[in-house]
C-alpha cells in the first residue's frame, strides 16, 4: 500500500466531507477533528445527564399521575440520550468512565442552562418549552453532521425529543390558562428562563472560538447567532398566544429584516455560570459524583459476579 503524507490524507478527508460522505469510526481523520468531536459529543452527553437533575427535582412532586409519568419518561429519555452520545464518543476511543471523570473534575463542560434552579412546577414547563425547544434547534442540524455515529445518535435523539417540547408547552399553557396563581407562576418562570435559554446557543459568532473550523468539518452546520434568531422568531409568537410576556423591553418585530430584534444578552452572567459560579453548579456535580460513588460497590459486585460465573452466566431464575 502506498504511504500517503498527512497533507494528502487531510486533503482526501476534506474532499469526503465536502462531498457529504460520512466519516466512520475506523476511517482516517485528523487528530484535531477527533478531539473536537470528542469534546463536543462528551459535552453533549454530559448535558443530557446533568440535565436530568433539574427536572428530576420535581418528579416526586409532580401534581398529577399523568404529569408524573410523563416527566419520568422524559427524564429517562435524557438518560437514554446521554447513553447514545457516550456510545458515539466511545467509537472515537473516549471511554465513558474517563469522560465522566472529566465531568466530575470540571475538565469537561456541560450546557450551563442546567446550573439554574427549578423552583416551581412551572419550571418543568419552561424547560420543556424553552430549553428543549432551543436544544432541538441545535440538534436537528446535527443529524447531518459529518461523523456517522454522532449523526445516527442525533437522529434517534431528535425523534425521541419531539414529545419533550410539546409536553413542556402543554404544562406552561395549562398554567397560563389556569387560576391567577398558576398564571403568575408561569410568567415568573418565563422571566427566569428566557435569557438563560437564549444563552444556550453559545457566544455570539464573532466571539465563538471553535465555530469556523467546525463548520468546515460539518460538525456544526448552522451558526450560533442564526440559531438564536430562529429560536426567538418562533418562540415569541408562542408566548403571545398563551398570554405570557417575554421579559425583554427591546423585543420588537423588525419588518425590514423579517425577524425580531431583541435585547443584549448579559454575557458576563453567561461566563460566570460557565466558569462554575452559577446558582447550582456545585449541587449538580455533587449529585453526579454521589451517584457514581454510591454505585461503585454495585458495579464492582456485578463485575465480580460475572468473573466468578464466566461461561455459565445463565442465572437460574426458577419458574414459580
Amino acid at each position: 500500500m502506498e504511504k500517503l503524507s498527512i497533507d494528502e490524507l487531510e486533503k482526501r478527508f476534506q474532499a469526503k466531507i465536502d462531498a457529504d460522505i460520512k466519516i466512520e469510526p475506523n476511517d482516517w481523520m485528523p487528530e484535531a477533528y477527533r478531539k473536537t468531536l470528542i469534546r463536543q459529543i462528551s459535552q453533549h452527553a454530559h448535558s443530557e445527564i446533568v440535565g436530568m437533575l433539574p427536572e428530576g427535582n420535581w418528579i416526586t412532586r409532580a401534581p398529577s399521575l399523568k404529569r408524573k409519568a410523563v416527566l419520568l419518561a422524559k427524564v429517562q429519555d435524557e438518560a437514554g440520550h446521554g447513553l447514545y452520545l457516550y456510545s458515539a464518543a466511545e467509537t472515537l476511543g473516549m471511554d465513558r468512565e474517563q469522560s465522566i471523570d472529566d465531568l466530575h473534575s470540571g475538565k469537561a463542560k456541560y450546557s450551563s442552562i442546567f446550573n439554574y434552579p427549578t423552583l416551581t412546577w412551572a419550571d418543568m414547563g419552561s424547560i420543556g418549552w424553552l430549553v428543549d425547544g432551543a436544544a432541538i434547534m441545535n440538534q436537528v442540524p446535527l443529524c447531518r453532521c459529518s461523523y456517522g455515529p454522532y449523526a445516527r445518535a442525533m437522529v434517534r435523539v431528535c425523534k425521541e425529543e419531539s414529545f419533550h417540547q410539546r409536553q413542556g408547552f402543554e404544562i406552561i399553557s395549562t398554567l397560563a390558562n389556569g387560576t391567577p396563581e398558576q398564571k403568575a407562576m408561569a410568567q415568573e418562570s418565563l422571566n427566569r428562563w428566557w435569557w438563560p435559554a437564549l444563552m444556550m446557543f453559545g457566544p455570539s459568532d464573532k466571539d465563538s472560538t471553535h465555530s469556523e473550523q467546525s463548520m468546515k468539518w460539518k460538525i456544526k452546520r448552522v451558526s450560533n447567532d442564526d440559531l438564536r434568531q430562529q429560536f426567538v422568531d418562533v418562540t415569541v409568537p408562542q408566548a403571545e398566544m398563551i398570554g405570557l410576556t417575554v421579559p425583554d423591553k427591546d423585543l420588537k418585530w423588525n419588518e425590514e429584516r423579517g425577524h425580531y430584534d431583541f435585547g443584549v444578552i448579559n454575557w458576563d452572567e453567561f461566563n460566570q455560570v460557565v466558569q462554575g459560579n452559577g446558582p447550582c453548579n456545585f449541587e449538580r456535580i455533587e449529585a453526579r459524583k454521589k451517584a457514581k460513588e454510591n454505585g461503585m460497590w454495585v458495579r464492582e459486585a456485578a463485575l465480580a459476579f460475572a468473573e466468578k460465573r464466566k461461561n455459565k452466566i445463565d442465572i437460574k431464575i426458577k419458574e414459580i
Binding site: N26, W28, R96, R309
Partner: protein, 95 residues
C-alpha cells in the same frame, strides 16, 4: 477512585418479524443477561423491537477501512452479478 469498567456491548435489534437484526448502538453491562435487559430498557422503550442480540464489542472483527479499495472495489466491475446486466427478449415475463 476509578473501578474497572463494565464491558462494552454492541446491540442489534430486529424491529419486526421478517427483518434482520440491525445495529442500533452500544451500552455497558457486566454480563450478557444484563446486557440484553439493558438493551431492552435503553433501545426498545418505544416498541422498536421484537428481538435483541448483544455481543461484546471486543469480540467483533472488522475489515480495515485502509484496505477498502482492495476489498470492495473489485466488486464494482462485476456487473454480471446484477440481473439488469442481462437482456431478456420482449414478451418474456416472470423473470
Amino acid at each position: 477512585m476509578s473501578t474497572k469498567e463494565w464491558p462494552l456491548w454492541e446491540v442489534f435489534i430486529r424491529s419486526k418479524q421478517g427483518l434482520s437484526h440491525k445495529h442500533v448502538g452500544s451500552l455497558r453491562a457486566a454480563d450478557s443477561e444484563m446486557a440484553i435487559e439493558n438493551a431492552r430498557d435503553v433501545y426498545t422503550r418505544r416498541l422498536e423491537g421484537v428481538s435483541i442480540w448483544v455481543v461484546e464489542s471486543k469480540l467483533i472483527a472488522a475489515s480495515d477501512p485502509k484496505d477498502s479499495d482492495a476489498f470492495f472495489e473489485p466488486a464494482e466491475d462485476k456487473i454480471y452479478r446484477h440481473p439488469t446486466f442481462y437482456d431478456v427478449p420482449d414478451g418474456i415475463s416472470h423473470m
